[in-house]
Amino acid sequence: MTTYIAQRLIIFFPMLLVISFLVYSGLELSPGDAVSHMISPELASTITAEQLDAMREAYGLNQSFITRYWIWLTSMVQGDMGYSMAGGVAISEIMIKTVPATLELSMVALFFSTILGCSLGVISALKRGSGTDNSLTVAGMAGVSIPEFFFGLVAILLFAIELKWLPVGGRLMPHYETVWDRIPNIVLPSLVLALMMTAGAMRYARSSMLDVLAREFITTARSKGMPEWRVNILHGFRVALTPVVVLIGFRLPLLIGGSTIIEQVYQWPGIGSMFIRSVRASDYPLVMTISLMYVFVVLTASLIIDVLTALIDPRVRLGKE
């Protein structure tokens, strides 16, 4: 087991390094450098080439590409993420502000989608082939077909503008302090996100449950004269949901990616809407740091999944790969 984890870790760090290098050089290829973004158009007409060069030197931009990458990398490892080009705010400060908002939204959405997806999937499996099963399958397909932002917009129009039950967007209403005051704001974005995520969870839960129901221990339980609900819940449900829960728990990166547009629609001050803003403003240091953070999360999650599946299934760690 230790060797297996070690093998995974040996892949993990070079991967991160290669990706950071690729992203860094990709943004290097994009037009303009940091200095050209710092100068306002009015200033650009009066500034001389010498002054520009002096500025470049002051920011270390005249050094070679590799040197700059190395400086950036070492300071990144030490926790200094650099500064955003828009307003010169420290990126670490932006992260501290936005990451909790995204985690809050994602966790609530994950919670709802897991409960909803698992229960609907199990119901669908138990009533296989019935009208309920078919309509749930179709509903699940609709769930993955409707653009999430369109669904979000319709929800805003319905519940925030027409019915006025919930706020249109944002995370905190002004002058509200307690946790309870925050709840109205998170209801719409998290439910929209959760409903979009439910379809996948439902499909997993359904096929996993069908798999378990076909096994012999279910037949044994039935032949003992156990009531049907006990068979389903104690034997089927419990066994079927273990893999599903592990899987859903680690769809977190997918969730964070999926929340990007929803955050924008609901003006949720999270990392996703910050990323979109930085892409729009060509704020390259911020774009780079946020996308690398996403990569870090995805790679870590897949490392944990690998280790967990290896723990559950010895064939994985003893196999060739």
């Binding site: 991967m15 290669v18 990706i19 690729l22 992203v23 990709g26 943004l27 290829l29 994009s30 037009p31 179709v138 397909m141 609709a142 993955v144 077909s145 409707i146 653009p147 999430e148 932002f149 369109f150 917009l153 319709v154 805003i156 129009l157 503008i161 249109v168 990166p253 997918l254 964070i256 990616g257 999926g258 990007t260 547009i261 924008q264 990323f275 979109i276 930085s278 892409v279 729009r280 060509s282 390259y284 774009v287 946020i290 996308s291 996403y294 990569v295 995805v298 790679l299």
Partner: protein
């Protein structure tokens, strides 16, 4: 020597094989299975209608999708303007038809092209193995380490916005999945006896993997192409909605929806964004139904 009943049976099979009636029958089984799937058929019909409508857009609508007409701004749907008009007086129905051309082209085109790249690499690397396979696998892993939308946005910020760039980005982010699929099929087909036989005949690697092995991996690939078409159309819509996809002067479904970011339009002028949202949803749903139908009818484990 008198023929036994078994010999006669063999003769019959041989005769039918020579008439090629076997392959026809096999295909018709797939078709009939697909046609039995009601949702897939409905999906295919609506899919065809939407594609034909956007192809023949100039015949269906007297308006120009780009022409600004300030006398008819923000009109509600009427007999003249089925989906109303937008803030600059352009006919929304016309724009939806013309937008469909671009959106479907991007979706289908990117799906097919990324499949071509993924299959070309996946078949060869999967069959040959060795260092090509190791490199391709690592490269695809790099692309898969990003959440899809994040990678697309990152690449948009590097390359800038244009129709061509967007398709290139979609292909770059989409080939990995197809590569893995093709590679996995090749790995399992590689050990089959017919492949070993072909190899012992001395056929070239290219002929073996693209002419003889690829057709046996085609049905999961077809299913995957449909599903990734749906995904690309949704991604394009999302990106253009954010104003980061196709440049705003080209009408696409996402670009038409872009106006809904304005809360006043969202509240007061539902026809500017509602119908096009429904058209996207219905189209993608149809594509998903078709994909599901294809999977059910071609999956050998479901063949009865």
């Amino acid at each position: 020597m008198a023929k036994t009943s078994l010999d006669r049976k063999f003769d019959q099979i041989k005769k039918r094989e020579e008439e090629k009636s076997f392959s026809i029958k096999k295909r018709s089984r797939i078709v009939s299975k697909f046609l039995n799937n009601r949702l897939a058929v409905v999906g295919l019909i609506i899919f065809t209608i939407i594609i034909l409508a956007s192809l023949f857009a100039p015949l269906l609508s007297p308006y120009d999708p780009m022409r600004v007409d300030l006398r008819s701004m923000r009109q509600a749907p009427s007999f003249d303007h089925w989906f109303g008009t937008d803030s600059t007086g352009r006919d929304v129905f016309t724009r939806v038809l013309f937008g469909g051309r671009v959106s479907i082209f991007i979706g289908l085109g990117s799906a097919i092209l990324s499949a071509v790249v993924g299959i070309a690499v996946g078949c060869y690397a999967g069959y040959k193995g060795g260092w090509i396979d190791v490199i391709a696998l690592r490269v695809s892993e790099i692309f898969m380490s990003f959440p899809q939308i994040i990678l697309v946005l990152l690449l948009v910020s590097i390359t800038g916005q244009s129709l061509f760039n967007l398709m290139a980005i979609f292909i770059l982010t989409g080939w990995g999945g197809m590569y893995r699929l093709a590679r996995a099929r090749m790995l399992s087909l590689r050990e089959e006896e017919y492949v070993q036989a072909l190899r012992s005949f001395g056929l070239s690697t290219f002929t073996i993997c693209y002419k003889h092995m690829l057709p046996n991996a085609l049905s999961p690939i077809m299913v995957n192409i449909t599903l990734s078409t749906a995904m690309f159309i949704l991604t394009e819509a999302g990106l253009s909605f954010l104003g980061l996809g196709v440049p705003l002067n080209i009408p696409t479904w996402g670009n038409i929806l872009n106006v809904a970011q304005d809360i006043l339009i969202l509240q007061n002028y539902w026809w500017m964004w509602g119908p096009v949202g429904i058209v996207i949803s219905v189209f993608v749903l149809c594509v998903n139904f078709i994909g599901d139908g294809l999977r059910d009818s071609t999956d050998p484990s479901q063949q009865g």
